[in-house]
Symmetry: C2
Subunit: 147 residues, 2 copies
Amino acid sequence: MQYHLPMEQTRNKDNQFALLLKANNERVTSPRLIIFRQLLRGSPIPMAKLRVKSALDGVDTATVYRTIALFTRLGLVQEIGVGSRRLLELTDNFGSHHHHFWCTKCGKIVNFDDNHLEATLDALASRLDISIESHQLEISGICNACQ
Amino acid sequence: MQYHLPMEQTRNKDNQFALLLKANNERVTSPRLIIFRQLLRGSPIPMAKLRVKSALDGVDTATVYRTIALFTRLGLVQEIGVGSRRLLELTDNFGSHHHHFWCTKCGKIVNFDDNHLEATLDALASRLDISIESHQLEISGICNACQ
DNA sequence: TTCAGTGCAAAAGATTTGCAAGCCG
DNA sequence: CGGCTTGCAAATCTTTTGCACTGAA
């Protein structure tokens, strides 16, 4: 099996993952680890593909759904909308805060973050008199390579 | 039947709607008008509910799907993600540009817009060297009433 | 009149659920 | 060992498709 992260980092993440589960009285099982590692590969993945990939490792479809529901409940996974597709990815708990830019020409999805944007949102929150728990921005357009 | 807009405004919208269809060589049919008016009521609506409401007016489920696909193709309708739900609403072509704030406590969805935010996005676009076609921001948190 | 658009029914996919067996703690 | 998890299969729900008929232009 091949990882996008060096093995040492993967171990770290696996560890962090195990701790999070235990802290919530959830068991660390083989299917859960397999699915977590799939998500750890980085790019947002559609449920259908996650199901297929997990099946290769012997994980049943029903288990994938139950696991994603669990991960979501634990705030480990979130669903993002890119165009009309729904994709799954690890939340900021297991990565840095970011947003998505989707190139409508080549389909590439680029993560980005912007301090100024975050500041703008803070100001917005006080203007609207709300307290922000989370926010998600999706920008679509043409990337520099495609222009 | 009851509308959220005064009848005169509804007529205007119906008109605008008919023109858009005709401009795209699409026919103005009863099911399409029924579904359009449903969306015109304002708040984002899940497909399931739209299906049920349309059925009350005798519109078949398959037609609802085909119509929403058409409206999306014409840039009349967009799908937004609020929490884990997917909701349908008219695009900015039939309303003013806005984003969504979702109160996780009372479930209310509030539309808002912010000039400063738009300016920030413009700046971001030039920094990332991309050209933005559209953007969608979803903020979730607690509204002032629930605090 | 003509053919795009619709209803109906069936097919295809996606998601959920019940239950016996397996495995983590 | 005990009970949470899983795999498997069946049930549900959602979305798509084929086809004959209807109605908008």
